[in-house]
């Protein structure tokens, strides 16, 4: 069936109530019973929840063939937890597992042999890149991977689409009863926002930490009342890779020019008022936007009410200098963010509070601005951030579709051409975020406004913002690069891109080049 962004979703994936994407607010007002875990009650006081090894915890949890396990990615590229757990599961010979991870990357390469021999046959993730992206693109995972945004994953757990049997939660610190946090250990992550739903909705919850602290480990992101077992290991991760030391602000003139243009679009949008809210990504031009934003705030004597997101040092600096009153943190991207998290008005929020479309109003719905990147943008403003132009999986939706749908003004910033690949093009390789939720595209060759935002077009026409139509940007890109030949794909579907509301926005097939 052709969905509302023109993508053909094979009928075999539209069963058991799964529907094709039908617009960003199609499920507004949707009513459903929340899922609930099967809890084993600890009535009798039996002492602490410590188990001597990960293997012991896997056995105690009752993990069996065909079950679903979950992980979070706050340890990022420094994560040891996924590989440690998967090695034990592999050795125990448990098969046919589905891994529901908040994201996967370089640090999780032990999943590759697990995929190849059928230990893991299903994956739900945001990030799908590097070796795991390749092995899934090659079609080696038995079932198509399901790509979910951060809000979409929180929704899938809460509405019961995903039923987690055992959650493995790496935590910087924990007490012996499972009150766990991202602070105070040797491998701090700042927050444990993505694990919140796992702890509350999984049947069995295992906390894995390298730092046991006294009871009660408060404030606790993961509550002991939700935790079955606690395992102490030597190290949960490499702190130097958990958070990059300092994300350098770009000195690239092209990126700075784009950042300046983004800030200008924000300033003239009509939403730049005292108490405004925004989220920005960690990419070069998005991050640099904060510099120019600060100048506009000084000029107009206003401050930002709250900033949200993947929190980075430039955001923490603006917060410490008083330009931002409150920071809402679902992921600490660098050491400055880790240090600042859960201090003062820098609050941790759960993935559901951040972006879940099926609760009673996530923070994304209150955003004035979001600044996002893109691998590809088509002339309908649809964005791809998951699949490389050569067809291989190499990205992550993260909060992209969530924030774009929620914010008053969603701004994409990307260079028009990257190593000959035109960013603005006739068709994106696959749709991650529907064009309906994208308002402005800022490139190094001009700014395009979605025609449905006549208010922004009208406002920007009074300024020196270099306005162009999206078609003009595409033509300009093709003028330099030539029109790209279409990449050829096999019939085999290797991944489904689920929109945040659970509908299917696109399918990803195996590129012929990988045969």
């Amino acid at each position: 069936m052709i969905n509302s962004v023109g993508r053909d979703i094979p009928d075999e994936y539209l069963k058991n109530g799964v529907e094709p994407f039908q617009g960003i607010y199609y499920r507004d007002g949707y009513t459903y019973p929340k899922a609930a875990p099967k809890v084993s009650a600890y009535v009798k006081p039996t002492g602490d929840k410590m188990i001597a090894s990960i293997r012991g915890a896997i056995i105690a949890s009752g993990l069996k063939d065909g079950m679903t396990i979950s992980f979070h990615h706050h340890l990022r590229d420094g994560d040891y937890v996924v590989n440690m757990v998967m090695k034990e599961i592999h050795q125990l010979g448990i098969k046919d597992l589905t891994v529901c991870a908040s994201s996967l990357g370089k640090a999780h390469s032990y999943l590759v042999p697990c995929i190849e021999d059928g230990t893991v046959t299903g994956i739900s993730t945001s990030g799908i890149r590097d070796e795991i992206g390749e092995v899934v693109s090659e079609g080696k995972l038995k079932n198509p991977a399901v790509i979910r945004s951060h809000g979409g994953r929180a929704r899938a757990i809460e509405d019961g689409t995903v039923k987690i049997d055992v959650a493995f939660i790496g935590a910087s610190t924990s007490d012996a009863f499972g009150n766990a946090s991202g602070k105070g250990g040797q491998s701090d992550t700042g927050v444990l926002a993505y694990a919140d739903g796992d702890a509350k909705y999984a049947n069995k919850v295992v906390v894995i930490t390298d730092t046991i602290v006294d009871v009660p480990n408060f404030p606790a992101s993961i509550k002991g009342v939700d935790v079955d077992y606690v395992v102490k290991v030597d190290s949960i991760g490499d702190p130097t890779k958990i958070a990059t030391g300092a994300l350098r602000l770009t000195t690239d003139t092209r990126e700075l020019d784009m950042a300046k243009e983004v800030a200008k679009c924000m300033y003239y949008s009509g939403y730049f008022k005292d108490g405004f809210s925004f989220q920005t990504g960690a990419g070069g031009p998005s991050l640099a936007t904060t510099t120019f934003l600060k100048q506009y705030m000084e000029q107009d004597h206003i401050t930002c009410g709250w900033a949200m997101g993947g929190v980075t040092e430039p955001i923490v600096n603006l917060f410490n200098e008083g330009y931002i009153k409150t920071v809402l943190d679902d992921q600490s991207f660098d050491l400055a963010a880790v240090a600042s998290a859960n201090e003062g008005r820098h609050f941790e929020i759960s993935a559901s509070q951040y972006a879940n479309p099926f609760n009673k109003g996530a923070f994304v719905n209150q955003l004035n601005f979001v600044i996002l990147g893109a691998l590809e943008i088509d002339t309908d403003f649809n964005v791809n951030v998951v699949q490389g132009s050569n067809g291989v999986l190499r990205g992550a939706p993260g909060g992209h579709p969530d924030t774009a749908a929620g914010a008053d003004v969603s701004i994409i910033v990307a260079p028009l051409i990257r190593s000959r690949m035109p960013t603005v093009r006739d068709q994106v390789t696959s749709v991650t975020t529907p064009g309906e939720s994208i308002d402005v595209v800022v490139t190094d060759y001009g700014v395009a406004v979605n025609p449905k935002r006549q208010d922004l077009l009208k406002a920007f026409r009074q300024t020196n913002i270099a306005l162009k139509s999206i078609e003009e940007l595409r033509d300009l890109a093709y003028q330099y690069t030539g029109k790209p030949a279409p990449v050829e794909f096999d019939d085999q579907v290797v991944a489904l891109v689920e929109y945040r509301d659970g509908t299917i926005i696109d399918t990803i097939r195996k590129p012929k080049s990988l045969n």
Partner: protein
């Protein structure tokens, strides 16, 4: 025009291409390794053939490592490599380049 020595032009930086030309007894041989092969490989090979034809290069081995260079870059790197390979360092025919 005959390729007499081996020559190189360009780099393997993003958006550049490195061209290596070597003498060969046989016909022209083009070996393209491109980061955008699927989308632009055939186009680049055609461009290389045309550029070599314009320079009257008949034989030789041409190896290109392309990191997403635009046509103008590929052409310039190729022309430079050819002139280096025939030892021509002055009096370049600018009007035909």
């Amino acid at each position: 025009m005959k390729i007499t020595t081996q020559a190189v032009a360009g780099t393997v930086e993003s958006s550049d291409a490195q061209v290596m030309i070597s003498p060969s007894q046989s016909d022209l041989k083009i070996d393209l390794d491109s980061s955008v092969y699927d989308q632009y490989g055939q186009h680049i090979i055609a461009l290389v053939k045309e550029t070599l034809k314009d320079l009257d290069v008949e034989g030789g081995e041409v190896k290109i490592i392309d990191k997403g260079a635009l046509d103008c870059t590929i052409k310039a790197r190729l022309q430079t490599a050819v002139y280096r390979a025939i030892g021509k360092k002055s009096d370049l025919p600018w009007e035909v380049l």
